[in-house]
């Protein structure tokens, strides 16, 4: 979009006039006019045309109206790719908006015209179009001096710069919501804080919390009241039941029925009891008749029994007498047998004893005879044995005297061998002397001639050498001491061994051992003989000989032959045994028979006494018969009486009411009556209790209170729910605002900086501008590696950065195919000559594809800017 002409009608100082700025070309166009010319009015009119709907009646639109009144109007011609369009608006009075196409046809009016403008500036005015205007007010330079006037002017200048920067900020805000976003977010936070904590819980002092607390408190109160109200209701129901029950109990008919039932039960019981008495009496009569009959029968039976018993007793007595006599006769007979058997036993015993004596004598005589021969034999054997024993003892003494044994001989032989070994050793070590006598001479040593064999000398010796004298040979102490000591020890050992053998030499010892062996053989031989003669030993043989000699001292000749006596003795002893057995049997029979006889006698006496007693008991027989007859005669009458009594009893029993049932019925009737009375009392007590409880609860108006509290609780809960919903909505709004701002910031910063950086480089080579993420304002300028906060920069630098930021936005729009004019109204008031030249360069850089309108009152300073010069035509409207 490019602006080609601007037309103002009846706006501010152009009251009743038409002011036209036309023939605006591409690139930079400069309107350089003095103060109070109305340059800012053009700016405001253009802004109103694009951004103030024609029906808007605001401070801003009203500010367009001149003091003389009337409706302000403005129109612009813009060039679009498809031609020139005219936009016209009238505000406040008969407001209208119109869009005219290149052919002069009105294509949109009023709201449609507003929508057309919106579409022109981007979908929903997506871009911060207002950024492209820089308002008038930057004409003053910061004055020097400290006076009030200078200070006031300086403050105004600072305000202007702030305005310049804030206008930039405002445009940024237009993108991100900026200050309004902050305000709205603060309001949302404040609304949230009024209700909820940071964690979105009900805030202690907030309405939500109050509603929640109130609902909870009411719920508690309701929970406390509800059971009591329920109890009251239950009490009322129960009381109605109790009252109905009492009414039933108090009903006269019911009570009369109770009384009748009781009386009836009582009468029935009395009747049953009387009947029962009659039954008992009949039972007694029946029992008496029965007993009487039984007694009569028993009497008759007893009399009969007595007679029978007496007869039987007498018969038994007689039988017992006979039995006793028979037993006595048998006992006597058996006693005789016993005596005979005893005598026979004694005779047999005597015969057997005689034979045994005779046999004994015969046997002794026979034994004595045999003992004499044996005594002689044993005497001979004893003599021989004693001789052998004597010989053995002697040989043993001799053997003992020899002292040698194979072991001692072996020891001596070993000692001898050691002596010989040591001697040989001494000889080998000794000086040897070998005599070789001349013919006829003989050397001797100790008188013994020396052979021609070498003679070892182990100790000093003297050798006689005939014709020479004596030669003493001494082997010397050093060579012989050890061997000599050993040989001496061996010699001593040999001497001890030989002494143990009882010999002086070893051959002697060997001889002694041979002799000892011979003696041992003889001893053994004699001992064998002795063992044969006296196998049990000499002493036993000696005792046997003595016993034999004693036995042999009996009569010399036997009287009878013992063998001949043995058979008669056996017969006699068998007869004696048989006689003894028979005697014992007979004796036992006799004793038993005697006992039987005594018992039979006793039984007889007992039966006799019993018979006498029975007879006494029965009395006289005839009298007894009379009594028995009388007794039997009375029995039939008694039986009839008993039958009659039984019939009476049976009849009564058959018609008897059940006393237990009658008694139970009476008890039940009494119990029912008592229970009714007790129930009446209990119900009256319960009723009193219920009345008290109901009265107390009813006095509290508990149902009304409960209904009241239930309603209040529901209302409080509903209120709490509304607050909760409001909190949810506020939270959602907060997040929506935050998301939108974050999104806007993200989409805004990157492209703006990309456009801004080349422009900053024109002014400050190698400088970079940083925009604060939070404030979205240019915040830091980095030059030569030095970062400087924007607010410490000079007013001129800040002003230039603000304008460059706008230009960057303009380029951003142009690059997105939506070019919009940049309008600078008395900007760059603080820029020095060098900087303003650089700014002009920047403007020209932007103006290559961007229309830039510069309104200025600084005609000289801006002469160097170049560009197209514009003129305003003013004429009556």
């Amino acid at each position: 979009m490019k602006l080609r002409s601007v037309e103002l009608v009846n706006i501010r100082r152009f009251a009743g006039q038409r002011a036209t700025l036309d023939a605006i070309g591409d690139g930079i166009a400069v309107l350089s006019e003095p103060n109070e010319f109305g340059k800012s009015t053009f700016l405001d009119a253009i802004q109103a045309l694009f951004f103030a709907p024609h029906r808007q009646n605001s401070d801003f639109t009203r500010s367009l109206r001149p003091h003389s009144g009337g409706a302000p109007e403005a129109a612009v011609e813009i060039e679009l790719p498809d031609g020139r369009f005219r936009l016209h608006k009238r505000w406040l009075s008969r407001p209208t908006a119109r869009i005219t196409d290149p052919a002069g046809r009105m294509i949109a009016q009023d709201d449609e015209a507003e929508a057309w403008i919106d579409r022109l500036l981007g979908a929903g005015l997506a871009g911060p179009s207002g950024l492209l205007w820089v308002r008038q007010g930057t004409t003053m330079l910061d004055p020097e001096g400290t006076g009030p006037r200078e200070r006031a002017e300086r403050e105004r200048g600072q305000a202007v710069r702030r305005d310049l920067l804030s206008s930039v900020a405002g445009e940024i805000e237009a993108m991100t919501g900026g200050r309004r976003m902050d305000v709205l977010r603060d309001r949302v936070e404040a609304e949230l804080a009024r209700l909820a904590t940071a964690t979105l819980k009900p805030k202690a002092t907030g309405d939500w919390s109050r509603a929640v607390d109130e609902a909870a408190a009411l719920a508690r109160a309701e929970a406390e009241l509800a059971p009591r109200a329920k109890a009251l209701s239950a009490h009322l129901v129960r009381r109605a039941e109790v009252q109905r029950a009492l009414a039933r109990l108090s009903d006269p008919g019911v009570q009369a029925e109770h009384r009748d039932r009781l009386a009836s039960a009582q009468a029935a019981f009395e009747a049953a009891r009387a009947h029962a008495d009659r039954v008992r009496q009949a039972e007694a009569a029946d029992r008496l008749a029965d007993l009487t009959e039984q007694a009569a029968r028993q009497d008759a039976e007893r009399l009969e029994t007595l007679a029978h018993t007496a007869g039987r007793a007498e018969q038994a007595a007689r039988d017992a007498a006979a039995a006793a006599a028979a037993a006595r006769e048998r006992a006597d007979r058996l006693a005789e047998h016993d005596r005979a058997a005893t005598e026979a036993e004694e005779t047999a015993d005597r015969a057997a004893a005689s034979l045994r004596a005779r046999l004994s004598d015969a046997q002794r005589a026979q034994l004595a005879q045999a003992a004499r021969g044996q005594a002689e034999e044993l005497g001979r054997r004893l003599d021989r044995a004693q001789a052998l024993a004597t010989r053995v003892a002697e040989d043993r003494a001799r053997r003992m005297a020899l002292a040698v044994s194979p072991r001692t001989l072996a020891t001596a032989e070993a000692a001898q061998a050691e002596v010989l070994r040591l001697t040989a050793l001494a000889g080998a070590q000794a000086v040897t002397v070998q005599a070789r006598p001349s013919q006829g001479s003989q050397a001797t040593m100790g008188g013994v001639p020396l052979g021609d064999a070498p003679l070892p000398v182990t100790e000093p010796v003297v050798i006689d050498l005939p014709g020479f004298g004596a030669l003493r040979v001494d082997p010397g102490p050093d060579r012989t001491d050890a061997t000599a000591a050993a040989r001496k020890a061996a010699g001593d050992a040999l001497a001890r061994a030989l002494a143990a053998c009882g010999a002086g030499t070893l051959p002697e010892a060997r001889d002694r051992l041979s002799e000892a062996a011979e003696i041992d053989r003889q001893v053994a031989q004699n001992e064998a003989r002795l063992a044969e003669v006296a196998p049990a030993g000499l002493e036993a043989l000696r005792l046997a000989a003595a016993r034999a000699r004693s036995e042999a001292a009996e009569p010399a000749e036997p009287a009878e032959d013992p063998a001949a006596l043995e058979a008669p003795l056996a017969v006699a002893e068998a007869a004696a045994v048989e006689a003894r057995a028979k005697a014992r049997a007979d004796h036992a029979l006799a004793v038993e028979a005697a006992k039987d006889a005594a018992s039979a006698a006793g039984e007889h006496l007992s039966r006799q006494r019993a018979a006498q007693e029975a007879r006494v008991a029965a009395g006289d027989a005839s009298e007894l018969d009379t009594r028995m007859a009388a007794a039997s005669a009375g029995l039939p009458a008694l039986a009839v009486a008993r039958a009659q009594a039984r019939k009476v009893l049976d009849d009564l029993r058959a018609t008897a009411p059940d006393l237990a049932t009658a008694e139970a019925a009476l008890a039940r009737a009494r119990t029912a009556a008592e229970a009714a009375q007790a129930e009446d009392r209990r119900l009256r007590e319960e009723l009193a209790g219920l009345n008290a409880a109901i009265g107390a609860l009813a006095d509290e108006g508990i149902e009304e209170r409960l209904a009241d509290i239930t309603g209040q609780r529901a209302a409080a809960e509903a209120r709490a729910a509304r607050y909760e919903a409001e909190v949810r909505a506020l939270v959602r709004l907060r997040s929506a605002l935050e998301e939108a701002r974050t999104r806007a910031r993200d989409t805004y910063l990157a492209p703006v900086l990309a456009e801004l950086q080349p422009l900053i480089s024109i002014l400050h080579p190698d400088a970079a501008l940083h925009i604060d993420d939070q404030t979205l304002l240019p915040a830091v300028l980095t030059r030569a590696g030095q970062a400087e906060a924007l607010d410490i920069l000079s007013g001129g630098t800040r002003e230039q950065i603000a304008i460059l930021t706008r230009l960057a936005f303009a380029r951003l729009f142009a690059r997105t195919g939506r070019p919009v004019p940049v309008i600078l109204d008395d900007a760059l008031v603080h820029s020095d000559d060098d900087r303003i030249e650089a700014m002009f360069t920047a403007l020209h850089r932007v103006a290559r594809d961007q229309q830039v309108l510069v309104f200025t009152c600084r005609q000289r300073a801006f002469a160097a800017l170049g560009g197209e010069r514009l003129r305003v035509r003013v004429e009556p409207a």
Binding site: A174, L184, G695, G701, R705, A729, A740
Partner: protein, 372 residues
């Protein structure tokens, strides 16, 4: 001679109204108490000496002592009026303590008809059918078949729902709608339904004399009944007795509607303090209209005894102008558009849509406090 009586029911004396703020709650209770005097005045004005109370005179089985005593005292104060009363389902005969106290403390001009026995009203016969329990489960008005002297007008007095009265959506009642003709009644005075309605030629519900809900449209009142004689058609004249008016208002909006004007049109103009208003808005409107409506409600609400507005069924139409009033561009506009889309996104759960709509409304309202 024409018998005149006032037919009323459902006074519900002692009703708590706990869900209402304290101020209006007390007024509601007081208004109910005041019905006794107003009914007596209406009877007096209509030339009636008898007031038939067709049940539910008391709201609870055990009303608070002051509720009961003040009601009895108020009846006693109307000495020229006879109060004939049957227990209803709220104050049935099971409420023994209530009726014991009434019997003990009640004035001479009050008579509780606790048994279904015909009562001579001076030539006319009243056939009462007192409620035996909260849910008796049988047609108590069968007792109205009881014989009365021939030629005497017969008036039934009962409490409960008529068979086809609540047939649609409710539990059917058990009083046959033709009870009056069945039992030869010249007039059947019924209670239980709080709205005034004629069920048959001679069968009426008087409704409550003091409204207690937004359910019924008809003004609260009683029925002045005149019976010229047996067989004569009863002359029934509704008499307004209500003190406080319960008014449910509904406005259905389209985006072009002026919501505030529509609100003004539906709100009662006179005696707003004596009105309880429940406003429900439905349809669609713009954010601006919705905000304007909400602001108008906030302004109007204090005029009324009680005011409740439910705008939850009023959806917001997507109008760019509305969003322009939040911002014509930038992040605020984006946030508003996001919330608008979310509020209208059928794929979102209803809760989320409602929350987004509420958030958008708040954003709109806050944005208007700080316009662009």
């Amino acid at each position: 001679m024409t018998l005149r009586f006032l037919h009323t029911s459902d006074l519900h004396l002692g009703r708590a109204f706990g869900a209402f703020p304290e101020g209006i709650r007390n007024r509601l209770r007081e208004a109910r108490h005041g019905t006794i005097a107003r009914l007596a005045a209406a009877a007096r004005a209509g030339g009636a000496r008898v007031v038939l109370l067709a049940g539910d005179t008391f709201d609870a089985e055990t009303p608070a002592p002051d509720t009961l005593r003040q009601a009895l005292r108020a009846m006693a104060d109307e000495a020229d009026t006879d109060w004939l009363l049957i227990p209803g389902n709220h104050d049935s005969l099971a409420a023994t303590e209530l009726w014991r106290r009434v019997a003990a403390d009640g004035p001479a001009n009050l008579r509780v008809l606790a048994t279904p026995e015909p009562l001579d009203l001076g030539g006319s016969w009243l056939l009462p059918a007192p409620c035996t329990a909260r849910r008796p489960g049988r047609d108590l008005t069968e007792a109205m078949d009881a014989p009365t002297p021939a030629g005497a007008p017969r008036i039934g007095l009962g409490h409960g729902a008529v068979t086809d009265f609540a047939a649609e959506g409710g539990t059917p009642g058990i009083i046959p709608p033709d009870r009056a003709s069945r039992s030869g009644l010249d007039y059947l005075a019924l209670g239980d339904w709080h709205g005034q309605i004629q069920v048959g030629p001679a069968t009426w519900y008087s409704g409550t004399p003091e409204a207690d809900s937004f359910k019924h449209v008809s003004p609260a009142g009683a029925l002045l009944v005149g019976l010229a004689g047996p067989g004569a058609v009863a002359q029934v004249v509704p008499v307004a007795t209500g003190r406080l008016v319960w008014q449910a208002c509904r406005i259905d909006l389209l985006p072009d509607d002026d919501a505030v004007a529509r609100l003004r049109a539906v709100l009662p103009a006179e005696r707003p303090r004596d009105h309880l208003v429940r406003l429900s808005a439905t349809g669609r409107t713009t954010l601006a209209e919705r905000a304007a409506l909400a602001a108008a409600i906030v302004r109007a609400a204090p005029d009324f005894g009680w005011f409740e507005a439910d705008l939850s069924a009023l959806s917001v139409a997507a109008m760019p102008d509305d969003l322009d009033l939040i911002d014509r561009g930038g992040a605020l506009r984006q946030a508003a558009e996001r919330l608008m889309a979310e509020a209208q996104d059928a794929a979102q759960p209803a809760d989320a849509r409602d929350t987004a709509a509420a958030a958008l409304s708040i954003l709109f309202a806050l944005a208007q406090e700080d316009p662009a």
